[in-house]
């Protein structure tokens, strides 16, 4: 004899339809085989709950049951298969999103590739992450670098000119191997650039403090200036002051489009290390009245 549907749902005989629905939903959440695929007793219990709700959830059927016109065994017990009976086998609905980040794991790869299963699973390999520290000029000028991987193999990395600190270089297909005949992942190389002794970088421009002599500052002249692509000659105009910034067009950081930023040269007047009586005598004779601190007076 079938159990009393009111007992199955755990409601009183005079429960309202809302109470019956609420009781059903609470039980179904816990017992639905597709929402609780690991609970092997859930399916039988859920079928009882579903049958009871089928009878009591419909006000008309419930009234007939209460009048004794139909009994609980007449309640339809769902003859059906549940989604979980098919879903694990692999189908158009199968999703690897719940574990795709684990697939570079050695054990999982072996499972996927053993005894011909590779044909059923095809998955892109995971990305591999590396770090590479570059000298300032190697990053600006670009070139080829190598990373030695933990397993002793060597990864060739092409550094594009103008690479900046923190940039991530993607090497297509150089990551972990794919599963089945899936393509390999990418290698992602994060670049760290060491600071330079004399150059600093701001965006595409290079900044340099250039010491000049008193004579060069007063009379002007041609001076050699280091740039990332080698020294160049620059004209210092007559009467240049400390802090004067000169722009060397196109001597900065290469850009992706082939153009280049500028080098900004900030002049800094340097007196000779040792005192020179000639200079002292001359300056004493000069006796100028210029007060560079005039603007600071209150």
């Amino acid at each position: 004899m079938a159990a009393d549907p009111y007992d199955v749902l755990g409601v009183k005989k005079d429960a309202s339809q809302e109470e019956i629905q609420k009781a059903y939903r609470q039980l179904a959440k816990k017992l639905h085989p597709d929402l609780n695929p690991g609970n092997e007793h859930a399916e039988e219990q859920f079928k009882d709950v579903a049958a009871a709700y089928n009878l009591l959830g419909d006000g008309e059927k419930r009234a007939r049951y209460d009048r004794g016109e139909i009994d609980a065994s007449g309640a339809e017990r769902p003859q059906r298969q549940f989604y979980k009976d098919f879903a694990e086998e692999g189908s158009q609905y199968t999703s690897d999103a719940g574990f795709a980040d684990f697939v570079d794991d050695d054990i999982l790869s072996r499972i996927f590739t053993r005894d011909g299963r590779a044909t059923t699973v095809r998955m892109r390999g995971a990305d591999a992450h590396y770090r590479l520290t570059l000298d300032f000029l190697d990053a600006i000028n670009g070139g080829n670098q190598q990373i030695t991987l933990p397993d002793g193999s060597i990864l060739d990395v092409r550094i594009p000119p103008g690479t900046h600190n923190g940039q991530i270089l993607r090497l297509r297909g150089k990551g972990r191997p794919g599963i089945g005949d899936g393509p390999p992942g990418d290698a992602l190389v994060q670049v760290e650039v060491r600071p330079h002794r004399i150059f600093t970088r701001e965006g595409d421009n290079i900044h340099l403090d250039l010491p000049i002599s008193l004579g060069e500052a007063v009379l002007g002249g041609r001076v050699r200036v280091p740039t990332p692509s080698g020294p160049v000659t620059m004209t210092v105009p007559k009467w240049s002051n400390t802090g004067t910034t000169l722009r060397l067009k196109g001597k900065g950081v290469p850009r992706a489009d082939g153009s280049k930023g500028d080098e900004l040269v900030s002049l800094k007047i340097m007196l000779p290390e040792r005192s020179d009586p000639e200079v002292e005598k001359f300056v004493a004779q000069w006796g100028g009245t210029y007060d560079p601190r005039e603007a600071m007076e209150a």
Binding site: Y24, L35, K84, F86, E88, E89, Y93, A97, G98
Partner: protein, 91 residues
Amino acid sequence: MEADEFVLHARIDAETLDTWLEAGWLAPRRDEGRTHFSEIDLARAHLINDLNNLGVNDAGVPVILDLVDQLHGVRRVLRELLSAARSGTIG
């Protein structure tokens, strides 16, 4: 089975079926312009019906279906792992 038989088994009307197909909740096999529903499509349709009875609205259904599919994917891998571990092919 074809659509008219499917709606009977799934206890939905043709219009509902169209909506579900459009939303991608069901993705039956198609060849040569004909749609073939299989047991898994039917079981999935029952699950969607149950979700509706549980009070899940149309916005919630695809979220749950996606998580259920992910859960089954994970269960499948776990099962493979356990059987591989028992048979000693890994470790």
